[in-house]
């Protein structure tokens, strides 16, 4: 699946998107945030406060307890500030 990042999550990680292949033990969005946090300092920094991170699966907002099975694109970003 593809992970995409926006705003300061993107800046901290240093990339806009990447292919990821989490193990089967990573079931929910929250699990995935934990798994990504282990990938290096930049990820740990981006996800240091997991509860402020918003996520979308295939372009629809989801909560952290949403399952990631079947997702093609998972996005992580800060709270929105448009409008």
């Amino acid at each position: 699946m593809k992970a995409v990042y926006f705003a300061w999550v993107r800046e901290r990680i240093g990339r806009t998107d990447e292919e990821i292949a989490p193990p089967a033990s990573v079931v929910s969005v929250g699990d995935l945030i934990g798994w990504l946090s282990e990938r290096g300092e930049e990820y740990a920094h981006a996800f240091e406060k997991p509860n402020v991170i918003r996520a979308a699966i295939d372009r629809t907002h989801v909560k952290h307890d949403a399952p990631i099975a079947g997702a093609r694109e998972i996005a992580f970003f800060p709270p929105m500030t448009g409008g």
Binding site: A56, T81, G82
Partner: protein, 155 residues
């Protein structure tokens, strides 16, 4: 009742509120009320060079579309326009336009407010401030007040 006249655009270019209002009203006699919201880039402290708006292409259109569909099911709307810009916007420049038309004013007012409250908190856009002195470029923080504004529609 035919489907409302709807257009959603995510664009870098500026918009023309008058042209959007004209498109929703000209040649028809059923529109009694037009409510237009224009959101602009503010700089009260004379310190801002520009706001830079990042967005999630694809999702921005889809999410706004979902919110417009909700508004259409909730109020008897004749037309809706939502235009949200991205890229760098100088102080005084346009950021967002919402137009809602209806036979009656209360529907048009409420729908426009609902759309703005949802755009603020659910449309995937992020603002970054570029300062005139070239200092740290800061991401704008989300406001609790915007989350609270949503609550009035959840009943």
């Amino acid at each position: 009742m035919s489907a409302p006249d709807r257009r959603i655009s995510i664009q870098a270019e500026d918009f023309d509120a008058a042209a959007e209002i004209a498109a929703l009203t000209q040649g028809r006699k059923d529109v009694g009320a037009v409510v237009t919201f224009t959101g602009l880039c503010r700089d009260e402290g004379e310190t801002l060079a520009a706001l830079e708006l990042e967005h999630y292409p694809g999702m921005a259109e889809e999410e706004i579309s979902r919110v417009v569909t909700q508004a259409e099911s909730r109020w008897p709307l004749l037309g809706v326009r939502v235009i949200h810009r991205y890229g760098k916007i100088a102080p005084g420049g346009n950021i967002v336009l919402v137009v809602a038309t209806s036979s009656h004013r209360l529907a048009a007012f409420e729908a426009a407010e609902f759309l703005m409250d949802y755009l603020k908190t659910r449309a995937p856009f992020w603002k970054k401030e570029h300062r005139l002195d070239g200092a740290a470029r800061d991401w704008v923080s989300a406001k609790d007040a915007d989350d609270r504004a949503l609550e009035r529609w959840e009943k």
